[in-house]
Amino acid sequence: MAGGQERILRRRIKSVQATRKITKAMELIAASQISRSQARIFANRPYRQGMQRIIIEAALGDPAAAQKLLSMPDTVETAIVIVVAGDRGLSGAYNSSVLRAGERVIKQLQSQGSAVRLFCVGKKAAPFYRFRGLDVERSFVGFADRPSFADARLIASVVAAPFSEEQAQEVLLVSTRFLSAGSQSVETERLLPLSVPDVPIDETPKVLKGYTEFEPDVKELLTSLAPRALESEIFSALLEGAASFHISQQRAMAAATDNADDLGQSLTRIMNRARQDSITTEIMEIVGGAEALRSGK
């Protein structure tokens, strides 16, 4: 009987070790993806900041036109919400935190009397909302790990159409922003109407003097700029989401590997104790048997 228990324990240790191999491999892969996806965020920064600087400049150049084009409508009848989650799980709280935040945003919009049109990025997003009875208009999948600018352009063109046809008054983006390797946070950003970045991101304050020439004039420029800025913001959100996903997965898999180590160790101890017990029992039986034989002589 004791031997049977030992066998069961040995089998469990084996399965824990096999799982550990998988989590370890996933940890290493995620770690290698982190630096790559981080490099892509840094490569994207000059473009994104240049875009924001042009918007700031244009808004300062003709405040009246900017006010008209960029101000929020009084009532939002329909709002578009884009939620950026991951294609894969096993990444700690990455998916669930952004999905929950998206759900809160939707609830809030609905309580204010706005209809919500929901767009999702990542395989994990659409099932979450469908399960909760929300209608997902379109789900973009397959590129959450490694988004390209073409992916961002596709999303932008899909969500910009209802906005420019005035079927929607607001476009919101819920995604995980990559603040640093150690900190990521879920944030909601208003994409349309364009918001003028309130903090001048540039270190040279000369940018903000407001005696700039415009070709064509500010109104036309801002109108044509809106879809481009939308692409740029969506792309940076995708990149930061991908980096946050990899970091989150690496952390989760490192924790899983540690747990597997602990579990393996304690199982090994229990198994050794069981084996020792069975040996002790056997010796006692042999000694007992020998005693019985000798006294029986």
Binding site: A43, G50, A58, F149, S157, T204, K206, T212, E215, R228
Partner: protein
């Protein structure tokens, strides 16, 4: 000493940056040239070629629409010209066979969309953009 710092930037990569003596391109208003000490300007770019004159000769970039900004830099006499383009490449990097393939694929997509199920307006628009890009690349490469 006056210098012009030029940066050509796309969302995926900062394509080129360095000092130049002039930058030539076309906006929706018309052709323009930026020289050092140019006044602050913000404008758009139509698809076409952006030429940058540097010490090592003229560099040309194929730009598929974008924006530019000229500002005085922090330092004295330095002007910074930033070109922001969603898609751009060095004209010497244009892959003709790939452009041909892209043109055919885009044409095919447009045709099939027009034949019937044109329910996805944004996909059609993207295909049209791709066709325009392929045609621009080919026209530049064949010059």
């Amino acid at each position: 000493m006056t210098t012009l710092l030029v940066e050509i930037v796309t969302p995926e990569v900062a394509l080129w940056s360095g000092t130049a003596s002039s930058l030539m391109a076309r906006s929706s208003v018309g052709d323009f040239t930026i020289l050092p000490q140019h006044t602050s300007t913000v404008g758009d770019l139509v698809s076409g070629i952006v030429r940058v004159d540097t010490d090592e000769g003229e560099l040309s970039f194929c730009v598929h629409g974008g924006y530019f900004q000229v500002t005085p830099d922090g330092a004295e006499g330095v002007t910074r010209a930033t070109v922001l383009a969603g898609i751009a490449e060095r004209t010497s990097d244009i892959d003709v066979t790939r452009a041909h393939a892209a043109k055919d694929a885009a044409q095919e997509e447009i045709n099939s969309a027009q034949r019937g199920d044109a329910n996805d307006a944004s996909a059609l628009q993207l295909a049209r953009d791709a066709l325009a890009r392929a045609e621009l690349r080919l026209s530049i490469a064949e010059k």
